[in-house]
């Protein structure tokens, strides 16, 4: 079905994420695509420009680190702060990391262990050649398994069509991203326009995002609830501890009084009665 009046909603652009591979010498004038933009920052050593850029008020762009896995592993604490940036790009609560160089299992496991030690669930790795050139499309909801080197607009269209409702990473190499992006946008437009039930895909995407937000809120509320439950238990423990202390004190006073005077005065019987009620 083709609806000629179909308007492309503003936020549908968010389905495509454009990733620029850039050197560490980045600036705010980095070309920004019409839609969400992620800079993949290729670093070989610690770079204060990157830190300053992505911690500033004006840092509206998301970013990803693109590094030699071994260099990152050997100098993890020198780079780790970048994963604390509000602008670092996460997939399913894991920082997305583009790597080249050694990608053997132990290296990746060690990197995962390092980020886990900082409280995150691990990395979401994506292997890319250091000298990567051209255009690659990645389906992030298939855990980056589905990816395709794009050689032509036909390739791009074929990749996008079954995933039109999903978040896709379109990775563009440095130098050619401007033309690539134009091409991506054109193909995207055409693919959308020729996709049947496009409005349902759009609705699906919105619902999916709302669902994701709700789940996050729920997770947060559960954490808060657990927090309050723990504290409630602490209050109860402390209350019982104090109550026990008073119980022992009253018993001691009662015994002392009885031994000395033979019977308890009426006021002490009242205190004892009130205390027993409190215990219940």
């Amino acid at each position: 079905m083709l609806d000629s009046d179909l308007k492309r909603p503003q936020d549908i652009r968010s389905m495509i994420i454009n990733v620029f591979i850039s050197s560490s010498n980045i600036s705010l004038s980095t070309p920004v695509a019409d839609g969400n933009t992620i800079n993949a920052v290729r670093l070989e050593m610690e770079d204060h420009n990157v830190l300053n850029k992505y911690l500033s008020k004006d840092a509206s762009d998301k970013f990803i680190l693109f590094m030699d896995s071994k260099v990152l592993l050997d100098n993890f604490t020198s780079f780790c702060h970048l994963f604390f940036s509000m602008n670092y790009y996460f997939i399913n609560d894991k920082p997305l990391l583009f790597i080249y160089g050694s990608t053997d299992e132990s290296c990746l496991k060690n990197l995962n262990d390092q980020i886990k030690l900082q409280g995150y669930g691990g990395f979401c790795f994506f292997e890319l050649k250091k000298t990567f050139d051209g255009l690659i499309c990645v389906d992030i909801y298939e855990h980056i398994v589905a990816q395709k080197k794009i050689e032509s607009t036909k390739d791009l269209s074929e990749f996008l069509r079954p995933r039109i409702h999903k978040d896709i990473l379109v990775i563009c190499s440095e130098g050619s991203h401007a033309s690539n992006l134009d091409s991506v946008k054109n193909v995207m437009d055409n693919t959308l326009q020729s996709t049947p039930f496009f409005e349902y895909y759009d609705q699906f995407e919105k619902t999916r995002r709302e669902n994701e937000d709700t789940l996050n809120e729920l997770k947060w509320i559960r954490a808060q609830l657990s927090n309050y439950e723990t504290h409630l238990k602490l209050i109860k423990d402390s209350y019982n501890h104090d109550l026990e202390w008073y119980r022992k004190e009253i018993e001691a006073i009662k015994s002392w009084y009885e031994n000395r005077y033979g019977s308890l005065p009426s006021w002490m019987l009242k205190v004892n009665k009130a205390f027993n009620l409190l215990k219940k």
């Binding site: 610690e46 204060h48 830190l51 300053n52 911690l55 008020k57 604490t77 780790c80 702060h81 604390f84 940036s85 509000m86 609560d93 030690l117 900082q118 409280g119 995150y120 937000d213 996050n216 809120e217 997770k219 947060w220 954490a223 657990s226 927090n227 309050y228 723990t230 504290h231 409630l232 602490l234 209050i235 423990d237």
Partner: protein
Amino acid sequence: MKNTASIAIFIHIYYTDTWHEISKYLLNFHNPAILVNISYDNPKRHEISRKIFEYFPNAIVIQSANQGKDIGAKLALMDIYLKMELKTDYLILLHDKKSPQALDGDAWRKKLFKIVQKESIPIILNRFNSKNIGMVAAIDQIVNSTDQNNVIINKYKEYISPLLAAYRLNQKDETFVGGTMFWVRSSIFEVFFNEFSPLSIRTTLEKGNVTDNKEPRQTHAWERILCWIVTSKGLKISGV
């Protein structure tokens, strides 16, 4: 009050509704460096971040996973502070702990925030004129771990001992600031954390909202150690 001392304020935001209250205290300072760490679990972290920049456009805002509670968050901020080569005279550590375990949680928090109240700032700066003062905190929060015959507090002595050796701290007394909200001379923390990476220390802390009512925890041990970094230099903690 306009002061000339350069100050960096580290703030950990865990809750979704506390920034507004904290921001009011920040306005009591003249051009401080503001470093905020919002918990990654906080579903409103981006919204809070926008609000922070609205009032404090030069603030540095990060997020981190809930590891080591506010202590872990402040260590992450310390790492950023050092990496950005910020130089200040004093650091102020704050967080938005609601402390539901305290029946008077609100009054308790207000006591903690006494150190950033307008009338307290000149008093605190005046205290630092004395060379032997290294840290200033709300007087009610200064705890001496020998004060109470408490099993957990006593367990901490044994628990912390190897940590003091590892970090080459010569503990002079057992006073510390409960709640980790205080002013400290920046140079003391800069020297210590340049030697011992804050992020490496952060890896040793527990994940999630840990409590230490049953057994000592690394996170709560660092609540003490942060203060003993100061006192091991022969400096005192002063209360306001």
